[in-house]
Symmetry: C2
Subunit: 436 residues, 2 copies
């Protein structure tokens, strides 16, 4: 059979990883697919560097539009990133009747609905396994592997940078700032780490998973997003004493009232598998009605792990492109006509457990006051930890784990607790998830 | 589009789970697939019980051949189990031009090559996601999700019964016999647990994974198989003291000399994710060149988890059956013409680390003698643990962890150690895997 001709836009870390892996494993991939997949054209602004990288057999151009205009090209891989030129190129590739593969989670989270609608009109496929959790086949598992199930919730460590920072903070007792600098020095965090540490990257990814898990339009605009920049080393230590680790989780859950979609630091039991996912690794847990809980673990970033997902999409397209378009795996896992625009809950309506840390005066009656407020608000207590007051100080730390309470109710309780004269510092609150 | 008509052979735990999940989630599945999938005919010897279970809308027959003969049926699900009648029925379904879905790992491990050859001739698909690790989409991940990679090795906890027993032994300090009885009482082990506790079930499953990971014919006949019946509570305890847990692993690895394929108890570092897979849960680790290490975790047995995999196969067949037969996912992940009959290594040729436990006389020179033998054989020591002699006894236990050594060399060393006059009991040896 005739080789699949691929055009690659953007020869950065993932682009050159993709070129390299496809070349290295060409024979193995052909043994599986039955025909060659060849990157025959590459677009990159630095043509000299690109040409040196891909060698003489591959045509290199500066203008990505030339790749899209080439009638020999079957599939266009977009690895430029961002929402600007990448959106324009993806849309014109689709208009030109090319199948598209992209690792661009930001693009899909923000413009996915428009991109998939255009692809549907043109009858082309859009592969995006690489957009979530790098090389872990989580998109395939959600869209295909779990297709028998009603998915109830998913929760993932889907940003390696923040998981690396949290691991360093816990293992070495570092502050956030120091751990971030270390991550930057080691190449785990970028010079401008905003998207990672503020949880935006994780929100892009969990939004994509939420859409395909529940059959809703891409819900990124409605996500609640909180990063790890405010996390203190003390809370990681207290969580440890209580048997928990703090992870930045992307969570989406289907409830009777709508879809929860949120990214924030969460306490998870140290006995759970996901709590033991350390360093820059990623993992996604999925709870579904028939299969129960499954977990998928691996490298969430890096040139070759991401290339693994990009190339798997190429192979899938080569396989499915001969099937009736109506029979292919739908873009968002559900048939376009079956997508339901379910409400996404405001964070105030979300129910979780909570970790509270209170700086309180070391005197009689404090505990009674605090627990009295919680009882008034109908919030019950799961566990408590009181530190002995440091020598010579008349204040101490009180840590409380609560059972499930609605965010709105918890906010009101915290406001009341904050007003108690014996509560001396701003109350620290971190959500806690029960992922069993 | 016209509904996919499915015939189901065998209405036991998995069969009734499949019927139930498909009925319960019919709407959700149709939202994904775009057309209904309906079990319209069931064969089971107990027709009265079966009819009561499936209700009046589904035809129940005692003779499975009637299902296969029905021209309306597109896909036949085989959930009878075993190699006898199941083989006959699967072959005649294929001959009748039906696509087949099966959860029967024993059948595939033993007769897979013949079954896939027949299916290839007839142009029908054979889905078997449910045959390995229940609802975990590991077959899909290996055949499709990791298609860019050269797979280097895989190692899995793929038998829930034995993992439950090992967890009970470790957590409660039970002997194998007591833990087995407990597993039977709780329904985690069958009345005749032979296939599970002797490692045969795990060997069926790892053989299937080995074939699709490396592109070789089904290698079950050449697997090395050792169960957990000889495991002693002491070794689980000593392993714990050294930072390890003992798991029954199915392992397959591609080496320069051939394929390793083995099932046996293994020490794994308690820090690894797979060591923390407890109770009846399953997990498979896969190491591949581009993606690195990935892990897949979930329930490996039970009616509904297995049904999840069976139904995912139905959905896949409905999707891919309209594609060119040459473009579909190949039965064993590789195109039939690309399957290579690589040698499977005898256990003597396998290289692993080892745990040794020696009952030795509590006297000077013992350690020098033992370590002398290991040094002579070129086996180096990684860690050692010597128990203080119990009060009044003149013998003690010596535990040694070795670095990598070939099984043949280790056997020779153990034989020499056994002959030392200060070694008072048979040497206990358990392999140890480094899964990083």
């Amino acid at each position: 059979m005739k080789p699949i001709q691929v055009g690659l836009l953007g020869l950065g870390t993932v682009g050159s990883g993709t070129y390299e892996v496809l070349k290295r494993n060409q024979a193995e991939i052909q043994r599986r697919l039955g025909r060659p997949v060849v990157i025959s054209m590459v677009a990159d602004l630095d043509t000299a560097k690109a040409q040196a990288l891909v060698g003489p057999d591959c045509q290199v151009v500066a203008d990505a539009k030339q790749v899209i205009a080439n009638p020999e090209i079957d599939i266009v891989i977009e690895l430029i990133g961002g929402y600007g030129i990448a959106l324009e190129l993806v849309m014109s590739a689709i208009e030109a009747g090319k199948h598209v593969v992209t690792a661009n989670k930001a693009l899909l989270a923000v413009h996915g609905n428009a991109i998939f609608a255009a692809a549907q009109r043109q009858g082309v496929m859009v592969g995006y396994e690489a957009a979530v959790a790098g090389g872990i086949p989580i998109i395939k598992s959600l869209r295909e592997g779990l297709s028998a199930n009603r998915i109830e919730w998913l929760a993932g460590i889907i940003n390696g940078t923040t998981n690396f920072i949290l691991t360093e903070m816990r293992e070495k007792g570092l502050s956030f700032d120091v751990a971030l600098k270390e991550a930057q020095a080691l190449g785990y965090a970028e010079a401008d780490p905003t998207f990672d540490i503020q949880g935006i990257d994780a929100a892009h990814k969990v939004s994509i998973m939420s859409a395909i898990a529940f059959g809703i339009p891409m819900p990124f605009a409605k996500a609640y997003i909180e990063g790890i920049t405010q996390l203190q080393a003390e809370d990681i230590e207290f969580a440890k004493q209580l048997g928990y680790r703090i992870k930045l989780l992307g969570i989406s859950k289907k409830t009777a009232h709508g879809i929860e979609l949120r990214v924030h630091p969460s306490l998870v039991s140290e006995k759970s598998l996901i709590a033991n996912v350390e360093g820059a690794m990623n993992a996604v847990m999925v709870k579904a009605d028939a299969v129960g809980t499954t977990l998928y673990y691996g490298k969430g970033a890096g040139g070759e792990p991401t290339a693994s997902a990009v190339i798997a999409d190429l192979v899938d397209i080569a396989r499915l492109s001969t099937a009736d378009a109506a029979c292919r795996v739908p873009y968002l896992a559900y048939q376009p006509a079956a997508i339901q625009d379910l409400p996404v809950l405001a964070i105030d309506d979300v129910e979780t457990c909570h970790y509270l840390r209170l700086g309180v005066a070391d005197q009689a009656g404090v505990l009674a006051n605090v627990t009295g407020v919680l009882a008034e608000c109908g919030i019950s207590i799961d566990a408590m930890l009181q530190q002995p007051a440091a020598h010579g100080l008349d204040q101490t730390e009180l840590i409380i784990l609560t059972h499930v309470a609605q965010e709105r109710v918890m906010n009101a309780a915290i406001q009341k607790i904050q007003q108690l004269p014996t509560v001396l510092k701003p109350v620290i609150r971190i959500r806690k998830e029960d992922l069993s």
